[in-house]
Each structure stands twice: as C-alpha cells, then as structure tokens.
Symmetry: C2
Subunit: 326 residues, 2 copies
C-alpha cells in the first residue's frame, strides 16, 4: 500500500508503516461489501501516519522488541485518530480531507457518524486483542475519553473571544497531544522499557503533540488555501480562536472585535485585514516561540532515552516536523 | 438516584442497579463543569437499564461473585448503549428520548457527536480498568465494532423494500442482540463461570436481544404515539423495514408499493391504511411468533445454568419483558 512520500527519507520505518496500514485494512470487516469498501477507502488516500510512526519508534526504546505488538498498537492509535477525523469532518462540515471528498459528503452525515463509531470500537478491539497485558499496566494512561474533553471544550468555547492561553493549551493537550503521548508511552511499554523511560516517552509525545498542534494552528494564518487545504482563517470564521489570535487580542482587541462579529460571514477581504492585524501584533511570532519551547522540551525528554538508531530517527523526524521553516 | 419503577418488583436487584448509575455518574469527568453536567444529565431520566440488569444477574452464575467487578462491567455495557443512543438520536433527528428533549436538540448535533464519542471511550476506559483480566480471556467476544455493523447495514438498506428476513435478523443481531450477549457473557465470566456456562449466557443474551428488538419493532405498528414515544410507522417513513412489514410484503407487495414511494411524506391517513394492510396480511402475528421462538430459546439456555435465586429472577424478568401481552 502506498504511504506518504515523506517516509522515503526514512527507509528504516517504511516497511513497518506500510504494515500498520495493512493491519488496519485487514481488520476492517463488515457484513456488507459496499460498506466495507467505503470504510477501507478512508485509509487509502493516506495521511502522514505520524502517530503510528512515533509509536513504532518508541517501541524500540526497551530491551524486548516484538514487532507484531508494535504494529498492532500503532494500528490502534491510527484507527482512533481516524475515528476522530471522520467525526471532525461531520462537525466542521468539511468537504474535502487529504484531497479526497470526505465520507460524509459522499454518503451523508449519518453514515459518517456510524463509520466513526465503528473505528472507535475497532481501535479498542485491536487493543484488547493485541495489547491487553499493556492495558493492565497502564490503564490510567489509556483514558482515551480525555481526548474528547478537548474537542468538547473547543465546541463549547466557540465564539468566546476571551479564551485564555491556559484554556487553549488545555484544549490542545486533550485534542492532539494526548494521542501522541499515549502512542509513545504504550510503544515504550510494549518493548518492556522501564516505567521511567515510558514516562519520558509519554512526556516527549505530549510535547511533540503540543508543538505540532500550535504549528498547525499557525498554518491557518500563514498558508495559502492550496497548501493548507481549507479557506484562510477558517478557524476564526468557525469561532475557534487559537494561539496567534489569542496573543494578538491582548494588543489589538478593539480593532479585532468588529471583525469577529461577522462570524462565518467574514469576507475574504476582511479576513486579509484580520490576518494583517494578527501578524503585526506579533501573534504568529509569539505562538511560534511557544511551539519552539515545546519542541525543545520534547528533545530534552528524548535525550533521557537509551542510545540506539531509533533515537536518531526520532530526532530527525521531530525536527523535520517541527522546525520553524516547515 | 431514582431508577425506573419496573425495578420495584425486583428488590434484590434495585440496589445494584442504582450502584451502576452512580458508578457511571462518578466516572464522567470533563474539564468544563457545564459540559460535565450536560453529559451527566443524559443518565438522569433513566432508561430501563435492562442490559446492566442482565449483566448483574449473569454475574451470579459462577462460584466467585465479586460485586465490584459486576457493577463496573454493567456500567461499561450501559455506557456503550448510551453512546449509541446519543448518536442514534442525531441520525434519526429525534427530538425527544425517554420523555426528555434530546441532547442534540438542546446543544446541537455537533455536541451530541462528541458526547457520544466521549461515552464510547469511557466504556473502554472502564473495561480496561476494571475488567482487563476478562478482556484477555474473551477478546473475540468483545468485538464491539460488530454492533456498528448492524447500524451501518440498516442505514445502507434504507428504502430497500426487498430486504430479506435473513438480512433483517442479521441486522438486529448486530444492532441489539450483541450487546445483550456481551453483557451476559462477561457477567458470567466475572464470576468465574465455566466457559460452557458463559457460552450459554452469551446465547441467552443473544436470544433475549433478538426477541426484544422484534417486539420493539412490532410496537411501531401497534402502539399509540404516547406509548411508543414516536409517530406511528416512524420506521417505514424512515425507510427502515422491519419484520412485520417484510412478512406482509410477501403477501401484499402490489398494494403496499405505492405507499412506500411517498417515503417521509406518507400522510397519517395513508399510514393507517398501511398498518391495516400489514395487520391483515398477518405480518404482526408472524413477527410475534418469531419473537416467541427466540424467547423459548432464551429460556432453554437459562435452564442449562446452575440453580440459584438469580435463575428465578432471570426467568421472571425475561418473561415480563418478552411475553406476548407486554
């Protein structure tokens, strides 16, 4: 199965990442062939598979590496991620994802809701089948419902322009960072890493997820539509206020407020003006410096781990993802 | 916490059923208090809690009964059921459930989608925390994603009036019977019942679920709006064809077909005519006899189990739920 071209630079990971996709595909089994084909198609366009990649790499931390378990664990993590994406698309009313027409556009919201539920349950089936011994040791870390805590908070805070930095960080900690952390932690445990090493892996995953989400939010201000794949200032129009905006509001609240009142009706011209205001107020620069701090923290956790080839790969991948100019 | 009055007739079960509700309530924890209150409110109006009741009763089959585990297991089963209900309400565009305005009517579909996801994940957190040793023994039975198989099939088959009895039975086997079966099976295992007894519990749960769903589908033809809580022939208008209809189509296809083409626009007057046709063709009688057969099969499985007070209660509850005149 074809995986994202970014992995051409990581030949040591390519095979295992392909196996993760194959694993997921072979576990999607529903009675109706048409439905099965539709759910499988979700996998084909291929996201970057970053979460499974980190899980696989962290499964090299400990002394006892069982590739089978690592692939299954990585597959469970990606399946959960995919479940949330399918539902996010319903909620955001997205028309495309990864360049493909989204499931709910082709088959209706109703189908997408159940397909997402199917993937949630499949994730837990995979975990209970292949990783139940890990679950027993780490159930407190596995509280996956905390991922939804961030999503619920984000919905509830829509159009609340007074959102604090603290609230934003708590939100992305649930929404994005937790799944990276879970993948790294259980990856490490699967190789019988020590509890101390596994916690370092959790922390590393958490920091990577935080930096990754902040960078993603910055792209909403910087990218052109073609690159980001959604309209400029999509988040602001949806009432989702992220770090660059939150910082800019501290400086330019009076000038920004009238734009916010237009909500979804914000014109492209006005969106450009908002973007200018946020950039001039230093919002992006400030957000980028926070992301940089999380990246440094991630690398500091990585430094605590035992030596090995995997460590170089983790460093290379993290820098590629999170360095300023990417 | 107030539970459904039907349990007044089962004093031996009342306390444990209350504890299940309390258990779920105490495990719902999200950062935002408003959101937490809304998700908890889902529990208050109180469904019948039939699935947890069967789980609790089956946790008396084996020699080693640990009430703590049985309550946690029953809570996980009800949490999963509730997750599917919240999403069903979004999909059916239901305005009320159990006499209360549904979550998505009050807070929007978007909120209801994530709240359902939260409950899915919470179910698995509870299982991984309190029942991980059971999971290791029974993962093949725990494939919860098969529950969604039935829901997906139902959506995909909407307005396909040629649906077969076999297809209908397969659909309700996933959609309803499986969760009863899972609850009974793991309930039995939690008390260290033998594998043979646990399988009998699985089969009993499966048959009860089948009969229960067929009875529920018959209510769509028999009940008045006030009793069933939804408009007469709601299912047919939604293109969901259940057993009474499927049997009647064998006799009266030519006369029924013109009505079907009206879909959601079927008038109340025409709905009455459809109902008459289905009753005259013997659709309800036929469906009821299938339900009766499943009830007998359930009781035959029950007879295989070791003696005890729980066995009388299981029989009484099953007959109360499934006998013809209820």
């Amino acid at each position: 199965m074809r995986i994202h071209h970014m992995w051409d630079a990581y030949p040591e990971l390519q095979t295992d990442i392909s196996r993760v996709l194959q694993f997921i595909e072979s576990h999607i089994r529903v009675r109706d062939d048409t439905i099965e084909a539709v759910i499988r198609e979700l996998m084909l366009p291929g996201g970057k598979l970053l979460r499974p990649a980190y899980t696989l790499l962290c499964s090299k931390i400990g002394p006892r590496q069982t590739e089978e378990n690592a692939v299954a664990l990585a597959a469970a993590i990606e399946t959960l991620h995919m479940a949330t994406l399918v539902h996010d698309d319903v909620i955001d009313e997205s028309v495309t994802r990864r360049g493909m027409t989204t499931l709910h556009e082709r088959f209706g919201n109703k189908f997408a809701i159940y397909a997402g539920d199917y993937l949630f349950c499949l994730c837990f089936s995979i975990l209970s089948r292949y990783a139940s011994s890990l679950i027993q040791n780490g159930f407190d870390f596995l509280s996956m419902e905390k991922i939804l805590d961030g999503e619920l908070a984000q919905l509830h805070a829509r159009f609340q322009s007074q959102v604090s930095v603290k609230h934003y960080l708590a939100r992305i900690s649930g929404k994005t960072a937790r799944l990276f952390a879970i993948g790294c932690y259980f990856g490490a445990l699967s190789s019988e890493a020590s509890e101390k090493e596994a916690r370092a892996a959790w922390n590393m995953g958490h920091y990577i997820g935080m930096a990754f989400q902040i960078k993603d939010d910055i792209l909403d201000y910087e990218g052109e539509q073609a690159r980001v794949g959604k309209p400029v200032l999509h988040d602001i129009r949806q009432g989702i206020y992220t770090l660059p905006f939150i910082y800019a509001m501290k400086e330019e609240e009076e000038r920004l407020r009238p734009y916010l009142e237009r909500r979804e009706q914000l014109s492209d011209e006005h969106a450009e003006e908002v973007k200018e205001l946020i950039i001039k107020a230093g919002g992006i620069e400030h957000a980028q410096s926070v992301a940089d701090r999380y990246t440094s923290k991630a690398l500091a956790q990585l430094a605590l781990m035992p030596d090995g080839d995997y460590k170089q790969t983790l460093k290379k991948l993290t820098l590629q993802l999170l360095r300023r100019d990417t």
